[in-house]
Subunit: 338 residues, 2 copies
């Protein structure tokens, strides 16, 4: 099925549902596809004997494998559209399938346009789930132009070669030492920013939708974000009460890290409370007015991306260590879930 | 422990935690008590060997028995403060205890003040969890003034005699035929409004905090709410696409009702989709722009109380039947979970 310029292989879900005779299916889609969710429902109901329920809560990524409570609603299968799986993260009570949304774009032009920016020979390639299927073609185009493309293999959180997540850049970091720069294919600035901060290598961003190539702009954004992060740390220097945030979503549960942070705060004579949350919003955190600084162990985007939305500073685990003087500012690292 | 004028018997939780040697406890508190949650954490950690995690997601009632995923965070016990249990609603994987917040108020004055309003002899008593312990004293005061107080027993959703929930007025409805009016003890207008709509008897509200007695105001509010509900139904008369909302929280899962509504809409040739939701907010529902009218089977307050916040009309199951001409407007009933 082709929607909004993406190829979505719903046939794969249909096949499994028919084979396993699933009757009650839940459909998870990211916000960007929600206005088209009805077409998915109709396709699945037309081609299978199942009834489909739409999951209405936001689904930001494969870390959200559906509420276990769905089982009470007789759900026997979950279809998540728009993400590649995080291989070790599964709903423990309901089987599920991930259907990627593969961008149907021609990359010839953007690669051509990127070539003058590629100062070096060995080019690391990194991209998001929607574009991993384009990496072979991009590699070929680069080779034709006498570059040596390199694609890294990620850790256990990564499904596909060259794929990066907002919370995991392992597929790029593992090749950072042997490439001259990275070429990021995709849209948005959060992923290339993480790539830049995580690998400390130059990053050229290539947006195949707008046909724009950028490099300096990302450095400017990095400087701005780092200033914000420095500000968040500085604002929390005198914090007396800390709130350690732990995510409830299956792929964000870092309880061992929470315990480590709690111990660090205890030994630094800082009062702290652990707060478990499913859905993070400024409204939810506002209820905790007594907290001077939150330390988030859940999705790294919460601290970085949504910084301006929250009144109380939210820092990442690494930033807390800088705040407490355990690490130095020049050891700054992007928070990742590994 | 006494907080904000409530007696909260946290000793009960301490006893169970120590007896069962629970080590990892989650604490759920309603929004109104969230600014005091730190005192509960400290009390529990001081008096037991457990570590306490605060549940940061909003907890509106005993229908929310904690996410099953908490088990992944090694949680072995849940303490929910501020609500009486819904007897048949339990977290299926983690044992829990409910600690009521009992209002520490003197009811002598408010009963005295209410007496001139009590036109009749048999007075039905109804109240919320926070005041059920006061019903005996109120009964005695009424008897001393030659009234005959009557307290009803609720259905399986109700823990205590005379207790009403925003979604269940069975403890009042069962005695409605044999009383002249109801006396509601507590604050806020949602519960007495439901009491009025559910029993169709006069309701005198007695707020022991402000020491105010009201009767006509509630009738005015009822008229306003009914006009709003009539408006919501009228606005949905031409709706082509319906979204049937089903709650994921354990105590709000009405999947059989969802199926019934789906069948009704099908046989009325109306297109409909089922949407499962944990946390209802205007932002979440805004993603479903193609829906002309939502039918909520989750918490009845969503349709009634938050009416003004939502752009798309939300109707209750009974209201849908009125909308489709299956029921008449004068058969209007407040939605209840039974």
């Amino acid at each position: 099925m082709k929607i909004l310029g993406y190829n979505i292989d719903l046939e794969k879900a249909v096949k499994t549902i028919n084979e396993k005779k699933y009757k009650h299916v839940v459909l998870q889609v990211p916000e960007g596809l929600k206005s088209h969710v009805y077409k998915f429902v109709e396709f699945l109901e037309k081609n299978t004997d199942s009834r489909v329920i739409i999951s209405g809560d936001p689904c930001f990524g494969a870390c959200d494998v559906g509420r276990y409570e769905l089982r009470d609603l007789k759900i026997d299968f979950i279809v998540q559209i728009g993400h590649l799986p995080i291989p070790y993260v599964k709903n423990p009570v309901i089987p599920m399938v991930f259907i990627n949304a593969e961008a149907d774009v021609d990359v010839t032009k953007i690669v051509e346009k990127a070539i003058p920016y590629l100062k070096g020979e060995k080019i690391g390639l990194a991209t998001t789930a929607q574009h991993v299927h384009l990496l072979d073609e991009i590699s070929n185009l680069l080779r034709e132009n006498n570059f040596k493309p390199v694609i890294g293999e990620g850790d256990r959180r990564i499904f596909s070669k060259g794929q990066i997540l907002g919370c995991n850049f392992s597929a790029a970091r593992c090749i950072a030492d042997c490439v001259d720069l990275f070429m990021f294919v995709g849209s948005g600035s959060f992923h290339p920013l993480g790539l830049l901060l995580s690998t400390r290598k130059p990053v050229i961003t290539c947006d195949p939708y707008t046909n724009e190539v950028k490099s300096d702009e990302l450095e400017d954004l990095k400087d701005m974000i780092l200033r914000q992060r420095y500000g968040a740390i500085a604002r929390s220097k005198d914090a007396k009460v800390f709130g350690i945030l732990v995510g409830i979503k299956k792929g964000q549960q870092r309880i061992e890290l929470v315990n480590k942070i709690k111990n660090i705060l205890d030994s630094n004579h800082k009062k702290s409370y652990v707060i478990a949350l499913d859905y993070f919003s400024p409204m939810t955190l506002e209820s905790f007015r007594e907290i001077d600084c939150f330390v988030s162990t859940a999705c790294p985007r919460i601290a970085i991306d949504d910084y301006m939305q929250y009144e109380t500073p939210i820092v990442t685990p690494v930033e807390l260590e800088i705040l407490l003087g355990i690490k130095k500012w020049d050891e700054y690292q992007f928070d990742e879930i590994r």
